[in-house]
Amino acid sequence: MITLEHLTKRYGERLAVDDLSFEVADGEVAVLIGPSGCGKTTTLRMINRLIEPSAGRIFIDGTDATTLKPEELRRHIGYVIQSVGLFPHLTVAENIATVPRLLGWKSDRIRPRTSELLELVGLPSSEYAEKYPRQLSGGEAQRVGVARALAADPPVLLMDEPFGAVDPLNRDRLQAEFARIQRELKKTVVFVTHDIDEAIRLADKIALMREGRLQQYDAPEMLLDHPANKFVHDFVGADAALKRLGRVRVDRVMRTAVPRAADGDRTAIDAAACSPERFVYLTDVAGVLTGWVDCRVLDRGTPPSEAETPVDWHEAAVHPDASLKEALSRMLALGYRAVPVVDEEGRLLGDVSLMDVERTMESGDAHMDAPGKGGEA
């Protein structure tokens, strides 16, 4: 648990952070957000004492952070920054081993830990361990940055706009992966961002700041439904309903029993009860999505072979960890009323339709789902 008590940072006359108090419960993600210059990064850097507070106190699991040596404190707090800051002269494995080395771990303990972490962030150890940072893409580098922060298994993780510098597609993937890792590891996380969608997607609690002062500290749903003041209302925007979809994962609502035809099996296409709402999906023998048949076209008497539309699953499908908001925008972009769901290798898992999305919005399911909770997936 992290507790901030009357935390204040003064730069001359200016108050960068003004009497800030809040608590982050164990295993929760608290997202600090606000316009630039609102003091969110300053707050984050005061927690690991890269910036010394002018007043107020910080407790981490009941220990006053100011009583520890700064170096000692930081070795038990994971730290991820936007510019990643990998050490260019060290290999990926050596980068990840940084804090364990500082803590004096033996190398026979470090090596398995390094590969375990690389696998956790989705980079095969055999391929990546010996690479140098300059051989990595932006997304890969940030994955290594996250692995490095987790290396010594710190209970607390500080992340300063970690996905701010990667392209939107990769950012989306990294967010989904972070949510998955967080479900697994349950760290106490303080996360700084200026992206409200990212905050809504990842946060258990959002701390909205303005000019050094806390405006509202609440669950994302509360921020969306009951903004504390006009600033909060304006900041979260008018599309609260749409934003709420950002909190529901596709795998919570997707239909898994979808009609499918493996490897051009025509009879399966004919046999499939082709409801007008969706598609019959075509896969190869391994189950990888290769195309679909639009049932409306079949109804008009077109032979199945001509109704087949080859698709690239990279573009036409979503991952089960993606948000409903993303699924919806994919449907709108492609002009279809359903979107297939595939795993990392493109194997068909199910689909989500416009009607599923509508139903979710009506039932208020969005209020119950948060990335930090829910053990399945």
Binding site: I81, G85, K131, Y132, R134, Q135, R148
Partner: protein
């Protein structure tokens, strides 16, 4: 390309040697003519271009060894031993002492400058005051002509009761000259480390000295070695001038040669200096290949 250079070198050396042998009757001495020198320069250019292109270390090792063997055999069997330079070499029994002196002076000057310059460069990266004084000072020293520096050194040396000619002033002057490239490059290297990398290091709990030893110095190493290389090559040349102030090195032969108008004697001093400078240069590059992390080495490795 390297092979071409070696063949040309062999032909040149043996040709000159042959000519020298066959001409020995009327004139007492045979000096190597301008044409041969020009060809040698041409060979050198081809050589360096070739070794730049040759990727494997083996190729350049073979090239160096065969060049050395060629030169030796040209001296022994090819008549190169009868040229003027070789005759001078035979008469100057102090040649090797002077050469070793030259090497020691150069190494000592650079080493002292490194011991002072590297910490000073690190300090300059930390403190604006040091940066504002140390680097301009080193720059100022560098602009003082070497002979003038000797003059300037006389006063403080006399005050300190130290000899004003010979090895001591030479060493001090060499150290002062070597300081600028070392201080400046160390400063640039350390100050040039990406701020994000330093922030990440501090954020992970590195102390100041851990950050310096594990992150900043390894990242600054290419520039620091480059500074040492520049200092070493520079001092090989300046050490020769130091002969005027009584230092006993290869410069002594050059000045002696000029004094008695013996061109071959001048060359006997000058050629080994060129060789020393090349060895210093190549040696430092080899160190760079050995100690700089492949993650920050310039060139070849493309991002995946």
């Amino acid at each position: 390309m390297l092979a071409c250079a070696i063949v040309a070198l062999g032909a040149l050396l043996f040709g000159v040697g042959h000519a020298a042998e066959n001409l020995t009757h009327p004139p007492a001495r045979v000096s190597v003519g301008a044409g041969a020198w020009l060809v040698l320069v041409g060979v050198a250019i081809v050589w360096f271009q070739g070794s730049r292109l040759a990727r494997s270390r083996l190729a350049s090792t073979v090239a160096w060894v065969s060049a050395a063997v060629l030169t030796l055999s040209a001296v022994v069997w090819g008549g190169l031993g009868t040229t003027g330079i070789a005759l001078e070499y035979g008469q100057q029994d102090v040649f090797w002492i002077l050469t070793v002196n030259h090497i020691l002076l150069t190494l000592a000057g650079t080493a002292i400058a490194a011991v002072i310059g590297v910490p000073l460069g690190i300090w300059a990266a930390r403190s604006r005051i040091v940066r504002g004084t140390a680097i301009p000072f080193a720059g100022l020293v560098q602009t003082i002509p070497s002979l003038a520096l000797f003059g300037l050194l006389i006063v403080p040396l006399t005050l300190l009761g130290l000899p004003t000619i010979g090895t001591v002033p030479a060493l001090i002057a060499l150290t002062l000259y070597a300081l600028l490239p070392i201080v400046r490059n160390t400063y640039l290297g350390v100050a040039g480390v990406d701020e994000a990398v330093v922030d990440a290091g501090r954020g992970m709990g590195m102390s100041g000295s851990e950050l310096l030893l594990r992150v900043e110095l390894p990242l600054a190493l290419p520039l620091i070695l480059e500074g040492l290389r520049a200092a070493l090559v520079l001092t090989v040349g300046i050490a020769a001038v130091m002969a005027i102030a009584g230092a006993q090195d290869l410069g002594t032969l050059v000045f002696l040669g000029f004094g008695v108008q013996a061109n071959d004697l001048v060359l006997l001093g000058a050629l080994p200096m060129v060789v020393l400078a090349i060895i210093a240069d190549q040696g430092m590059r080899a160190l760079e290949r050995e100690f700089v992390s492949p993650g920050i080495r310039p060139g070849r490795e493309e991002p995946a």
